[in-house]
Subunit: 464 residues, 2 copies
Amino acid sequence: MQTVQRSLDSDPTSQGTASEAPAPTIEVPPVTPGKHQVVIIGGGFGGLYAAQQLGRADVEVTLIDKRNFHLFQPLLYQVAMGGLSPGDIASPLRAVLSAQKNTRVLMGEVTDVDPERQLVTLNDGRTIPYDDLIVATGMSHFYFGRDDWADVAPGLKTVEDALEMRRRIFAAFEKAENTTDPELKQSLLTFVIVGGGPTGVELAGSLAELAYHTLRNDFRHIDTTASRIILVEGMDRVLPPFPSDLSARAQTDLEKLGVEVMTQALVTDIQGHDITLKQGDQINHLKAGTVLWAAGVRDPGMGGLLADRTGAERDRSGRVMVSDDLSLPTHPNIFVVGDLAHFAHQGDRPLPGVAPVAMQEGKYVARLIQKRLKDDTLPPFAYKDSGSLAVIGRHAAVVNLPWAKLTGFPAWFVWLFVHIFYLIEFDNKLMVMTQWGANYLTRKQGSRLITEKVFEKAEAGPPK
Amino acid sequence: MQTVQRSLDSDPTSQGTASEAPAPTIEVPPVTPGKHQVVIIGGGFGGLYAAQQLGRADVEVTLIDKRNFHLFQPLLYQVAMGGLSPGDIASPLRAVLSAQKNTRVLMGEVTDVDPERQLVTLNDGRTIPYDDLIVATGMSHFYFGRDDWADVAPGLKTVEDALEMRRRIFAAFEKAENTTDPELKQSLLTFVIVGGGPTGVELAGSLAELAYHTLRNDFRHIDTTASRIILVEGMDRVLPPFPSDLSARAQTDLEKLGVEVMTQALVTDIQGHDITLKQGDQINHLKAGTVLWAAGVRDPGMGGLLADRTGAERDRSGRVMVSDDLSLPTHPNIFVVGDLAHFAHQGDRPLPGVAPVAMQEGKYVARLIQKRLKDDTLPPFAYKDSGSLAVIGRHAAVVNLPWAKLTGFPAWFVWLFVHIFYLIEFDNKLMVMTQWGANYLTRKQGSRLITEKVFEKAEAGPPK
């Protein structure tokens, strides 16, 4: 093992500058030499549940993530709306896994995988040997080939994304309050949400609550209830994966809240704040101060890397095709779980990219690895669908259980309970419960602070 | 009144680009013409308490702030340490003042004050007329003429400052975990806090809790209890404004926690991460991965502007000298409250720059304005000292009351109670109480997520 001199100033995950010679590789030794090494890339639902399932196994676990926390993504839209703080839905990975003595957390970015030498390489030159590798890096959002829209229409994958959405939403109201130009005022009070899946529906519903209720008495020169909130979905109904009666109910609930729902509508162009929509033969032009993106997913790179190194096949979005035990057909000791996995061995369609699938996949692979160490195996992975749910507003949701469909307040209550239950840490459960209680009672959203770049970063797009 | 075309893309507080012609000024009309206009600049303790005191007065209040929230600064160090989220200690100004119908909030940055025409100008060209003006913009931190230290040694005034401190502290542990160079590891585990006032003591104490307790089981390749935490104070004791026995007790408590306290010590140079300290004749060189700044204040500009426009006198730090009713001697309808005011009419020294002084000053001016409208007046302002307090760790504090001195656990309990009591909103009280309860029980700090610039922003200073 080589020692390498690293600068105090360097990023924890990068070494030196681009102009320097490539960093010498240094192998990170196992904590307990000789132990079976399981390396997990990604601390989302798939990776974290796999790590936790391996907590008492006779293996050594290394969990690698670019970030130092697990993010409870299903509530990220609440951070965007100022209802929760990032800390409420983030759990430090080290804290969660602290008591698990066979597990270490490495903060770093994986740049390569070598299936022959069974090594993972980080961007600072460190390499980590593995016996079993679990890849759980997820997907990022996709602008259907129009990456230039990214600046105008932020998506919602990271804490930073959520704070950027929050900044734009609240800054739009502030700008509207400040201007005396009526046309500009109306554009600033127009919000377009692209994508009618659960995230889009949740964003639209909570934005409607915000504009039509929470903020209604806060301004003196604008009427926030005159805001337009437009949800754009390409398919013929919102929440396409849900049964059609639940989709219809969700749309009714959204419309009751004041959201304009446009189905079979596509965004064909975004120029600054001029949005072009195509609905059938009709072309609509809109001026919207804020566009939020909740459509499309793609492989952020790890899928491509794996395919390159292992010959694994991928689907059109870049997901990796996995065997019925979630391993790669060519490499039985490399597993892909969560959103990045294309699991086509159950039902007509691949499993959806949702948290419960990732959790079950992560746990399955962890159990399979333990079985194999005892020269045993498991039956193929089978997803147990415990239902899907989407929240619409302060009191409404749709819940699709295998044995029942719920709507309205009961659905909302189930949604609330499930989300608190699955928060990883006790702290978070307590905080989210308290915050929701307070928000519900006071109808305020106390976390709506505009931070960081409000007065610094110019937004994208040419000026009007 | 002119209408002005403003871009959708512009910052809410700026108009057009520097290359354009200066923005035409537009006067923001009063909501109720004819009402006595009170304009307050700054939504900190002084400004907000003044605004609230005027809630039922027969005046129109305009509160101007660059940010959309009031910040409970005494708990900002907890955000830096990952114990609280920014949302827990911030209250949206609009929400706080929403029910106060005679009050509007303007988000904007004041660039000029015209005492003759009684106008305040914002950086987007808007002007706001006033009958009475309350300036409550506070102070910023000061590097004793070494502004180049700002990048290496962040201070603690804004939410962004706190998140930057948090990022550096937690990234230092991550970097230490990642390196195999023992000398580098030790530098990364060395933290220097400059300034032994309440903020410095609070930072040092909570950092010691973090390194020696909270994080002790979270890493596999470093021992966080081997961290060095050094508190540097120029005077002969920490907490100089406190009685000397409380200072001594605070130092003992800090040392018990593991903090190295250096008094009569000055930082004479910071080059990257090489710190030079002078203690008497002794010169010490230290390598510290993280330097936190908690010393020195100066006028960020508003004091200078006021002095220019009104001929007001200022002290060495740039504070504005005020009359015994907090007005300017030359302009009885312009008041300065809070940290920016130098009030020298009580005791030997000017009143300290702490929250209770700002609150009482804000309220006094609000009451004085109401009295004057009835052709009445008030006796000169007199600060009622209800005591000062500083927290040292999880169970220790020092409290200096006019009738008693408290230390240890009882002091900590008083500190806790006072801080929750004075949080502006019910939401915040509830959240902070819950979070403290959870932190106390679990000894975790759930909000220690490293966000934003972790992997982007290079830290300052030349590489080692």
